[in-house]
């Protein structure tokens, strides 16, 4: 079966039906988290220079998108696009956030807009009324209790816990309905917290189940590997070490790594899951497929950096920028985007051809460290034995918890 290549049409489609615009409104942050993706541990991002994104750049990008949205028919009747604010700490550039929100709200276009933000909550007390009024979907970064939060320090090295805790409590008290509906938490796991302690703290204090992420393990500076290893905590291990593993695993449901893997496995291999009604007419074995876990450029979002670079996602190296906003113009060369994407696919194609997971790959190629070399090595590659092990890992989890089958297949809503 021939592999499907990315086409210009795919990129255009993604932009017409764009789900999220993420704006890095500033690279300034009022915290100096030890493990920050833009900090000492890592490379692969533009130098932090205390910059603030200008409204001109934001307006240029949005106007360009609006032109596309008005000109081409969208696949949804009233599509929803989320405008996400990202940093640095986005609240450090609240003026731009307000300007952008006002501008977007006044667009005469057949589209719903939602607003979202990831914040460290240090300035939440100042701006919470505005955030609640505009119903921002707010993701608060909080690593649990005071000990857990101790890597999240201010410029003087002081733990931000007291400030953050106070502000979040205030938000909860002042805007309880908004808090219940629109506020969520993300915690980074490290050697000073655990899945259990973080979950318990946030659940008890705020009634929320946090998402928990491990430290980013790509683009680590070579001289910082030891420090990284000291700080890193594996989510599964942390979970298994919990006193009440079973109860905790049940509470966090698909936050439990093995259950999350099982969900993916059931979606991809049970033959029972279909993206939409049209898929019921398609024999997947006859379909050409793209053997990568990399998103179609702009298939999920478009990311504008504080320096005006356009990247397909905020989670990847800034060197993978595909265009920019400069001098009042959006510079995106679709041919370049497609050719580069396909060139990376070609580099991996030898491995993909013999990979047992090629039809349901989850490996983002931008996370492959040597992707720019001639012969990059894919970490997601699975030979027959690897795949059988993966299958057995998922199925043995299901055998232990058979109730998960129906629950995962019927209760989980996936876009």
């Amino acid at each position: 079966m021939e592999q499907a290549k990315l086409t210009i049409n795919d990129v255009e489609d993604a932009l017409i039906n764009l789900k999220q615009v993420t704006l890095e409104v500033t690279d300034v942050c009022n915290l100096r988290c030890k493990y920050c993706g833009y900090g000492d541990l890592y490379f692969g991002y533009d130098k932090r220079q205390d910059k603030y994104l200008s409204f001109d750049k934001v307006k240029t990008l949005i106007d360009w998108l609006v032109y596309i949205w008005k000109f081409f028919k969208t696949v949804s009747y009233m599509p929803t696009t989320t405008i996400g604010f990202y940093g640095g700490e986005p609240l450090m550039n609240i003026d731009l956030i307000k300007q952008t929100v006002e501008y977007v709200e006044n667009l005469k276009i057949n589209r719903n807009f939602l607003f979202a933000m990831t914040t460290n909550a240090v300035l939440l007390d100042k701006y919470m009324d505005y955030i609640a009024e505009k119903k921002f979907n707010t993701l608060i970064s909080l690593d649990g209790n005071s000990e857990g939060q101790s890597y999240r320090v201010n410029h003087s090295g002081r733990n931000s816990f007291d400030t953050v805790y106070r502000n979040v409590k205030l938000l909860q008290q002042e805007h309880p309905e908004y808090f219940a509906e629109h506020v969520n938490f993300n915690a980074v796991l490290h050697n000073r917290n655990s899945v259990e302690s973080t979950y318990s703290f946030i659940k008890n204090e705020f009634g929320k189940t946090p998402t928990m992420s491990e430290l980013n393990n790509s683009n680590i500076r070579s001289d910082k590997i030891e420090e990284f290893n000291r700080t890193y905590r594996n989510k599964s291990e942390s979970l298994y070490q919990s006193e009440n593993y079973e109860k905790l695993a049940e509470d966090i449901f698909i936050g439990e790594p093995q259950t999350e893997n099982l969900l993916l496995f059931l979606h991809q291999y049970s033959g029972n899951t279909f993206r939409d009604y049209n898929d019921l007419f398609i024999d997947k074995n006859e379909l050409r497929y793209r053997p990568t876990g990399t998103c179609t450029p702009f298939g999920k979002k478009i990311f504008l950096t504080v320096n005006g670079k356009i990247i397909q996602c905020e989670r990847i190296d800034h060197n993978f920028a595909v265009g920019n906003v400069e001098n009042g113009k959006v510079n995106l060369d679709f041919d370049y985007i497609v050719n580069r994407f396909n060139a990376y696919l070609d580099k991996l194609s030898k491995q993909c051809k013999v990979c047992y997971r090629k039809k349901s790959c989850t490996q983002c190629m931008y996370y492959i460290p040597d992707i720019d070399n001639n012969k990059p090595v894919c970490h997601g590659f699975m030979n027959k034995t690897d795949f059988e092990n993966y299958k057995s890992y998922c199925m043995s989890h299901l055998a232990k918890k058979p109730y998960l089958y129906k629950k995962l297949m019927t209760e989980i809503l996936v876009e």
Binding site: S76, Y77, S270, N272, Y277, L280, S396, A399, Y405
Partner: protein
């Protein structure tokens, strides 16, 4: 001795008393059985998703009928009998459409109108005009007799507004092509769309329009000639037969079929489809159109195809039809979903809200009481015209 029975993943178990059916969609093997109370309780246990299609039982405590049932399952490759320790995990068929309407409705952050344009894939336009007055157009492509006529301009405007890359089939059914003004303009426009398009014309019109229709050969369009079996047909086809045309022969009885067979032979017609039409000829339908139990079981259906029958109507899905008065239908036997002046999104959403046809499945009586409920083809126009929701001899014989 304790044993474990595990049903294979692609296998369905259906019980509709007094019958039961286990059907392996991977190989088409099946087991028809009488669900005694013991067998029924085993099937119920297996159909509980939490049991992952496995049951442990003591062979010696089962009655002989149930023992035979268990053996039959293994012999017919529907499942496997093992010792209780065997580490087999099976995933019972459980349809999960991630973006199903019900799921979108249940999710506050989503909208049921998400991605709906991609579901609309086929458009049929009846231009209208004067022609034979029958209701055959409600069964198949056939000219629609009307005072109103949809002009080229109206049709082009409508298609311009649709502007969907997901539309992959257009059918234009002319009623009176001789008097249809600007037919060439419409044809040129349709060709420019680069969407596979079929032009339907009644055979009585091809004598006069042969030159015009012949020209269409140069275009990227298919011409289908709708033919009824009568005394003129052979002469007309003899005179105008064109190898590029496709012929849709409408038949009402065996006699017409026999005439047709001979004519096809005589005229060496290569491209044709035979389409039965209902016209108070129930017996002919019962004998030649209705399905029998053996037909159903002989048709191997994959799990995906069975799921499709459970979720949507494979005949009607994605299709909209415009009648000469400008009303748009998802099925001509129901209310319209709007008019050509409505946006395509509204038309599709109306169909989703009213569920006239796209998701019309065999979930009503009598089909919902039948073990072949999901193996049978989706309901079709014939059901509406005949006035009963099952086109089968099987269920009627059971009554």
């Amino acid at each position: 001795m304790n044993k474990k029975l595990t049903i294979y993943s692609d296998t369905f178990i259906w019980i509709k008393k007094p019958k039961g059916l286990i059907y392996n969609s991977q190989n088409g093997h099946y087991l028809l059985f009488q669900p005694t109370s013991e067998i029924e309780s085993i099937c119920k246990y297996l159909n509980n998703f939490d049991n992952l299609y496995s049951i442990i039982f003591d062979d010696e405590t089962l009655n002989s009928e149930t023992q035979k049932f268990m053996q039959n399952i293994e012999e017919r490759h529907l499942g496997i009998l093992t010792n209780v320790e065997a580490n087999i995990v099976s995933l019972p068929p459980l349809l999960n459409i991630l973006n199903a309407v019900e799921k979108l409705k249940a999710d506050k952050s989503r909208s049921e109108s998400e991605n709906i344009l991609k579901y609309f894939s086929a458009l049929t336009v009846y231009t209208g005009g004067k022609c034979a007055n029958t209701n055959y157009y409600k069964q198949t492509f056939y000219p629609c007799n009307s005072n109103e006529v949809l002009t080229s301009e109206t049709i082009i405007n409508f298609l311009d507004n649709i502007q969907s890359q997901y539309l992959n089939s257009i059918n234009i059914v002319f009623s009176d092509i001789l008097n249809y003004s600007d037919a060439q303009v419409l044809i040129d426009y349709l060709e420019s769309l680069q969407i596979p398009t079929t032009i339907y014309v009644h055979y009585t019109e091809i004598m006069i329009n042969n030159r015009f229709l012949d020209k269409l050969r140069n275009n990227n369009l298919t011409v289908k000639i709708i033919c009824e079996i009568d005394k003129d047909l052979q002469n007309i086809l003899l005179f105008c037969k064109n190898e590029s045309y496709h012929y849709n022969f409408l038949i009402k009885n065996e006699e017409e079929y026999n005439i047709l067979e001979e004519m096809i032979e005589n005229l060496q017609i290569k491209k044709y489809t035979v389409i039965p039409v209902f016209d108070n000829n129930l017996q002919f339908f019962e004998e030649h159109v209705f399905v029998n139990e053996s037909d159903i079981l002989a048709t191997k259906l994959s799990k995906r195809e069975i799921f499709a029958h459970q979720a949507l109507n494979t005949n009607f899905w994605g299709a909209l039809t415009v009648l000469p008065d400008g009303k748009v239908y998802s099925n001509l036997h129901n209310e319209s979903v709007g008019t050509i002046n409505d946006s395509i999104y509204d038309l599709i959403l109306n169909e989703f809200h009213n569920n006239y046809s796209w998701r019309l499945i065999r979930n009503q009586k009598p089909c919902c009481d039948c073990i072949y409920q999901w193996l049978c083809p989706s309901p079709s126009n014939y059901e509406f015209v005949i006035g009963r929701m099952n086109l089968c001899n099987y269920y009627n014989m059971q009554k």
